[in-house]
Symmetry: D2
Subunit: 292 residues, 4 copies
């Protein structure tokens, strides 16, 4: 692309790709609506081998947050998993007065720290979020509109890891960047750094194909450096989340799926990736499953 | 049951129902192994209407933790969801120097605070956990054995909400207690209180049927008050988790599923309920899906 | 007071008691400036017996948060203290590979959950905070102005627990409410409930006496129910924090101090109560000391 | 030192410097007992100029945790400060239904992440902690003995930043390492890395001088690399905390104090550094004050 994306380009794209009202004035889940019951039935028909492949990176201190980056992390740390009771407590006899030896635990976790869904409350276009809701619906008390809990019966459909894409599909795109970082043994440059990914012009393709959601193995799905003029960060996000209502998955681990598809030459599968319905959340960790 | 369960009864049950070694000396997932690939294919065949029903309670401050209880909560609080950036920040213009208006969030969440899986590191029998591992494998640094992340490709199979149960099934049992609490508008007595649930003698039935996992709508699956003599708390747990290797789901919301099954008379479905693979965790929040 | 406090009353008080600019346009600590070096020297001269009395309630799950209240807690929970390593780990031998047996811990703590200072970023008057700063200086990233860390060399002076009050004093007022709750064994009604405390008309007295700070043994210092018309919550706070620049201490435990003063008849002391300088915080837990 | 410190050396030191029982069998604060009331009175007499100098590093994401280190951080992160309500919420009008515009916040903070006191529950010698208590008193539920809250009326006395040291003093030792790291603009090598500090042989001097506590500007007070044979990490800690009962301060910021002392040539002062009395904690953040 020779020309940088400008605010005028964003205004034009916002006009052209706006899905506000398409599923009624009260809709809070956007393109997830594209997946119809018959698509789910058809997706289940793709289960022929009984294989389940997780697309999640484990959630722990070895995750990508905290790696070197010029992009400020703004509070995104790797998950902090702490124990409330342990097997060592049990061994030491200090639990026996309770009549049961049990362990318990707790996590402190930014909801976008690992494999995750971006909810529709995550990005605003000017003062609006998806479907035209006022951005002030997302306060310190959480997202009163478009919270991730609104998707709790969604994230089920055909997963596609190939080129033929249709209405209601969950499209999974592997760039290989995560696997390269894992092989290198460090995540420097991954969070907020340069990355292959969706360019601004892919918006048209996404719009035409009426996909339900899109996910990739990078930090933010979008190509970086961005193709935009100064002062516009993540222009693709500006349009696809608040204007189009597209749910997006990030930091998906696609190495196992890639190997499996290369082996059996089957690039479509049942995809089930429920968000944890944290009320008012603008994102959610997930363990997305490809079921073949 | 006329007679209280004694330590001798526990020793005998531990001997009788012990599955240690059944899936090799290195197994960390127990009865989840019962579900075979063909079971998953068959489960997918149950998807005929394209309906998805979440069995999760939303995760927020209205959850069951903190309710009146004689059972000490030991650090189990309701999830604390906090924002790292908001739509009000966006509206106030304080994000514009970043070139994008985006919200972000974080959760502080005991892993057993809401709809959840108990991992196999959750309960010990004397100094052992599932498959005979030493309980000292669960330290303040987490579960080095049987962490919930080991189940990341599991939790997929036939869900049954009826009486005919077979090998590898995920058995869902509704007592109605949660719906009663929700209707009453308060959770007093729910966490650790009296509850309908599995009695000690159900262990034999579970063992014979070789189910993959079991889940219910109560705080702890097990009947309370317990049927055991003083000093033995949750005797069913002592056996089914560390000895048998059974994964159990708790605080499942079964109201919507119950209504749906009553309407369509279909009490079996594809069940997909991936744990969030938090490394070393002894439990995980989940959004379990019944797919019909 | 016969007449309810109105918005017009607030406007008049804001005009009358405004200290903005008094310590220059860049000041971020308000009335803490009243304490001069000679006041600190004089305060130290009050130390004659070598007694140290803590005015802090211990920080733990028995604290006042979570008690019954009609006032929404908005995320204020009691401190959650969790261990990162334990003596039971040590006993179990799992730390020995490190060559040292050590315990470590972590706290999740709302900064206003227990004995605490309210910083000057805590309350706004319309769109302004102390000294006229824009309220948008307090974003999800914290308080860019008037963060509690700006007080790190303050909170030292004469503490007075009696009636003769002078410029630069730290005034401690005991209502007895906390001790009544502690004696009753439950905190119901304490957070946000009815309480003795400062009425709106005390603002004039506070202003004239040029005190450095004020602290009490209640949840919020201010009398409740408030004396204001509908829609105005905590009118005293509206003026004393953003307009006057007064730092206030809440949930101080004054039982031991009261007993001591009754015994030795000495109602003044050196007061040292450093805030923990958490950058950008709008409050801080403290362990305030009365030194006699 | 030519010879490495061995386990036999530790055993001998443990015998020689053991203070167990010195302040009775129930003591939980060790050498803090050395400071007598008259010492506090004398310390207050050192306040002649009315100057207050904070020895705290601000608590935020720029702190030393997370820096490059070969020493595993074991969960010690920099403080995570998050807002529960903000000035941007206020500006957006979303708080007005409450009748007050107020901000609130919360911190997630390892208690040893910044300027801090190590409590006596922090390090064990074999299976014992200070005064001979069983190390199993420090469970996942916290320290049942020697919790930092037991010091709530302590940490007041003469601070010395020079060579003449006496019974009951708080001894502050500046190595300059922190200032060097701050000047360099990064903390690499600070947490757990090589550092100037107390050698094993200083134990005798500390013991003889009967000091109340010691603090320094390094991560762990003790010299690193350690002078011990393989398998013994932090040998000085093994003795001074559990055997001698010495409270120690770490990560103190001493730059301002150093400049001040160089200017006025006064190297002693009143020292007030209250721990936050978090029940059962094995350490506490602090804002230590030198008052001159």
């Amino acid at each position: 692309m020779d020309k940088k994306i400008t605010r005028q380009d964003l205004r034009e794209a916002a006009e052209k790709y706006k899905n506000w009202g398409k599923w009624g004035p009260h809709d809070e889940i956007g393109t997830l609506n594209y997946t119809a019951p018959e698509d789910i039935v058809a997706a289940a028909r793709l289960v022929r081998q009984g294989k389940v492949i997780s697309l999640a990176l484990n959630f722990d201190h070895t995750g990508p947050q905290g790696a070197k980056s010029k992009y400020p992390s703004l509070g995104r740390i790797n998950p902090l998993h702490v124990m409330l009771r342990t097997g060592t407590d049990a061994y030491s006899g200090v639990l026996d007065h309770r009549g049961i030896r049990a362990a318990d635990d707790l996590v402190v976790m930014p909801l976008q720290c690992g494999t995750q869904w971006d909810g529709l409350g995550h990005v605003f276009y000017e003062n609006n979020m998806w479907n035209g809701y006022d951005c002030r619906e997302v306060t310190s008390a959480g997202a009163q509109k478009c919270g991730i809990e609104k998707t709790k019966n969604k994230m089920v459909g055909r997963g596609v890891f190939g080129v033929k894409v249709g209405r209601g599909d969950y499209v999974i795109v592997r760039t290989g960047q995560m696997e390269a970082k894992l092989a290198a043994g460090n995540w420097d440059g991954y969070p907020g750094g340069d990355a292959p990914g969706f360019s601004f012009e892919t918006i048209d393709w996404i719009h035409r194909n009426q996909i339900a959601a899109i996910a990739s193995d990078t930090w933010g799905c979008e190509v970086r450096p961005n193709e935009s003029e100064a002062g516009i960060n993540q222009p693709w996000h500006w349009i696809v989340i608040p204007i189009m209502g597209l749910t997006m998955g990030e930091i998906f681990f696609l190495g196992d799926l890639a190997k499996d598809c290369a082996a059996d030459k089957v690039y479509e599968f049942m995809f089930v990736a429920p968000a944890i319905p944290i009320t008012g959340a603008v994102g959610s960790p997930a363990n997305p499953l490809a079921i073949k």
